[in-house]
């Protein structure tokens, strides 16, 4: 690790020494972007990787569009949608949209897509994104009716995100295998080449339908390259081999800022870091975390502002509720907050019967330095926490088996801007629920399925208040993302970790 840091220093020096190179990619009108992993299948329903989501947003259209600037829903493939009742949604499909192969996009394609993805034979990987749909039917030439499994007011948010529309005729003729090699959508870019495991090439869809809320694409070609190593991605960016990288570690971002011809952007994401406690005492019968005062003491013991200022960096915000603050239903109004107060933490620990603190274990899987900072704060009030740093799947198994006293978790809500996508995972009795508070679960269930907007807001607020009062889950902060790209590119980032290259342009 240390050797790598030294190397990175050397790279930074080399950047200073390097002459400004010719960035050929603006001249070629080709934007090369690199990331560390590749989707196993470019069919959007058959991968759950962020890189796959990016491709999906460029190649396919969705029924509804959420304007990232205003947060409002705008018509995309559906020009109109109406709730007939809480489990029936009617949509009018736009006319005149064509797929990349020239076939017109009709109500039949919408009905086919929705029925296909909920069928067992489709074997979709992203089940949670469509399992609220029961079926779809064509009720008129351009009319589609969606039947829901149960009331699900967040349906529009999902239709505006991970539910792209497929071409029925083409998909049926090539099957999933053929589709994954040459996918066809109606979005602003069309796929020209899929290199399984290596990358994807895309080209501007010159016939993209006029009036799309996404606007017309500007950059001619997009090339997605898989480069697993972070240092290699950085070197490629500096030599002009690629134009855009992301997930740049904070220390590299600081170095890249000094490099000529490279812009660094730090922006907030929807990912929230938090501590989860073994409230049920599954890890150990006599665990201190059964006591509310101990959980509150930990909340008082951690200086989140200092962590933000010194460690986490640009764009992040402190979170006080168990969700991402911009999600619908997420609020910290009337929710108790825990300001940094180590004296109060010690007092609460003493009241709970731990005047000299105790020893426990903390599991973590992402930024190790954040977990180590938390451990430092806990040590200052007498709690000795030993770090068990694991891969995500291994950590999740420990949590699900009830073997983790404290978990340092993060959750990105699948970019869904609805509080249900966060609280639903951790408080509704699923395997990831470490709290098991049935009352909170019931309130959240009402909130998730209620169609009355005001009632939903009130119910979420009440549940979030209880969660904070009892300190079931201690939210830390939202995570920033560092993007680095050639200065010739005009690019803006959104909190949903979805780079929109269709809106980017050359300067």
């Amino acid at each position: 690790m240390k050797a790598r840091l030294v190397l990175m220093g050397a790279i930074a020096l080399a950047v200073g020494a390097a002459a400004t190179s010719a960035y050929a990619n603006k001249a070629n009108d080709t934007l090369v972007y690199a990331s560390d992993s590749e989707p196993e299948n470019v069919s959007p329903y058959h991968n759950n990787l962020r890189e796959g989501v990016i491709i999906a947003r460029h190649v396919f259209d969705t029924l509804v569009y959420r304007n990232p600037d205003t947060g409002k829903y705008e018509p995309q493939l559906a020009t109109k949608w109406t709730w007939v009742d809480p489990t029936t949604l009617d949509l009018t499909i736009r006319k005149g949209v064509v797929f990349h192969n020239g076939d017109p996009l009709t109500a039949d394609d919408v009905v086919f897509t929705l029925n296909y993805v909920v069928s067992a034979e489709a074997k979709v990987v992203t089940k949670q994104n469509t399992d609220w749909i029961k079926s779809a039917e064509k009720t008129g030439e351009d009319q589609v009716r969606i039947h829901l499994v149960g009331p699900f007011p967040a349906a529009i948010e999902y239709l505006a995100g991970p539910v792209p529309i497929y071409p029925e005729k083409y998909f049926k003729s090539v099957g999933l295998t053929g589709f994954s090699k040459a996918p066809i959508g109606s979005g602003p870019y069309r796929v020209t080449k899929v290199d399984p495991g290596k990358g994807v090439n895309m080209e501007k869809n010159a016939n993209y339908w006029k009036g799309s809320p996404q606007g017309q694409p500007s950059i001619g070609k997009l090339v997605f390259r898989v480069i697993p190593d972070a240092e290699t991605r950085m070197a490629e960016l500096m030599t002009g081999g690629v134009d855009w990288i992301w997930r740049v570690p904070q220390d590299q971002a600081v170095q890249l800022k000094t490099a000529p011809n490279i812009s660094v952007l730090s922006a907030e994401t929807m990912r929230v870091g938090f501590l989860q406690f073994d409230t049920l005492g599954r890890s150990e019968k006599s665990t201190p975390f059964k006591d509310q005062r101990v959980r509150q003491a930990i909340a008082y013991a951690i200086d989140r502002k200092a962590m933000l200022d010194n460690l986490v960096g640009g764009g992040a915000r402190i979170m006080n509720s168990a969700c991402f603050i911009d999600q619908f239903g997420c609020t910290d109004k009337d929710v108790p907050t825990y300001a940094y107060d180590p004296a109060k933490a010690k007092k609460l620990l003493a009241e709970a019967g731990y005047p000299n603190g105790f020893t426990t274990e903390i599991v973590a899987y992402r930024e190790r330095e954040y977990a180590e900072a938390v451990i430092g704060y806990l040590a200052a009030v007498g709690i000795k926490a030993n770090l068990n740093y694991l891969k995500y799947a291994a950590m999740r198994t420990l949590i699900r088996e009830g073997k983790a006293p404290i978990a340092f978790q993060t959750w990105g809500s699948f970019s869904v801007l609805d509080a249900s996508a966060f609280t639903g995972v951790y408080f509704k009795g699923s395997a990831d629920d470490m709290t098991g508070d049935k009352e909170v679960g019931a309130v959240l269930n009402d909130a998730d399925t209620s169609v009355d907007v005001d009632k939903r807001l009130k119910l979420y607020q009440s549940a979030l208040k209880t969660i904070a009062e009892k300190s079931y889950l201690f939210p830390l902060f939202s995570y920033p993302a560092n993007y680095a790209y050639t200065s010739e590119l005009s690019f803006t980032a959104q909190p949903d970790e979805l780079p929109r290259f269709y809106a980017a342009r050359w300067k």
């Binding site: 080399a14 299948n41 058959h46 495991g197 697993p228």
Partner: protein, 305 residues
């Protein structure tokens, strides 16, 4: 010679089969394959259905024989992750790894053998020391470090070579250097020792006494005899390079067999892991077999022993 070749061939085939058995059983013992296929969201009933569908509920020996029967006909099934045939996946990845391995081996031999000869001829002098130091650097630095160092020097600073990828011959230079350098010390020391031994032999003294030029003595009489153990070592080093390419392929973003194997292990993609292990083992065994036969051909003492 024929008898010896057949004998080595039987050994080679037995080793390949043993490796396939060990790999198969280790993988099956390391986790429930049905759960891996079904994915984290699957219900126990779905896992059970998959177990039956893929025949995973049958005895392991039966499953192994079925896999072997298909494997000898180059049918390795489908990748759980990519949902495409393992053979096509491997076919698309193996050229990168073999090219990388071959170039690396050539590079390391081209550097190491002359260096070894030089060190032997100037035994004990500063040249000997320098040659040794140079070759050891390659082995002392971890390959990923060496790779990044080469990128900084030749790609970022000098801008002579591309950083990553495998699309042109230029892309192979840096990774081959990083990978090949690692094998230099072993080959160099072996050729140096071989040369030292041979140079003090009686027939070299005779050759020199006949008045032959030093070049003819060293290259025609000495090197030909000193090189024999190097042939065997080169085959073994090629095997190491196929393994070492896992790290190098990741650093240089070359999508070869090594990177595929690493990805497959991380994803519990059993059919791919099994096939790659078998193929790499077969290549390795094949090379060792070739080295044995070549050695026997070059040195009659081996095949007569």
């Amino acid at each position: 010679m024929l008898h010896y070749t057949l004998q080595r061939l039987v050994v080679a085939i037995s080793v390949a089969i043993t490796v396939s058995i060990v790999a198969f059983f280790l993988l099956h013992l390391s986790g429930d394959i049905a759960i891996s296929i079904a994915g984290p969201e699957a219900t126990p009933a779905q896992v059970e259905a998959i177990r039956q569908q893929f025949g995973l509920d049958r005895p392991l020996v039966v499953q192994y024989l079925e896999w072997l029967w298909k494997a000898v006909r180059f049918d390795f099934g489908d990748s759980f992750y990519f949902r495409s045939s393992v053979v096509s996946l491997i076919a698309s990845r193996i050229p990168v790894t073999l090219t990388l391995g071959a170039i690396s081996l050539c590079l390391s031999l081209l550097i190491a053998v002359p260096l070894g000869v030089l060190a032997a001829v100037y035994n004990g002098t500063i040249i000997d020391r320098l040659a040794l130091s140079f070759s050891v650097i390659g082995q002392a630095i971890p390959t990923f470090c060496l790779g990044l160092g080469l990128i900084i020097l030749f790609s970022v600073t000098l801008r002579w070579l591309p950083v990553s990828g495998a699309s042109t011959w230029k892309h192979y230079i840096l990774p081959s250097l990083a990978l090949g350098w690692y094998a230099v010390p072993a080959v160099m020391r072996l050729s140096r020792n071989g040369m030292l031994e041979v140079l003090s032999a009686d027939y070299i003294r005779t050759a020199r006494a006949k008045g032959l030029s030093p070049g003819v003595v060293i290259f025609k009489h000495a090197l030909r005899n000193a090189i024999i153990p190097v042939v065997a070592l080169a085959a073994v080093q090629f095997g190491f390079m196929l393994g070492g390419s896992i790290v190098i392929e990741a650093v240089f973003s070359m999508h070869g067999l090594g990177y595929l194997a690493w990805e497959a292990i991380a994803r519990n993609d059993f059919p791919v892991v099994q096939a790659v292990v078998l193929i790499l083992a077969t290549i390795y065994v094949g090379l060792t077999f070739l080295a044995d036969v070549l050695n026997a051909f070059l040195d009659p003492r081996i095949r007569l022993a």
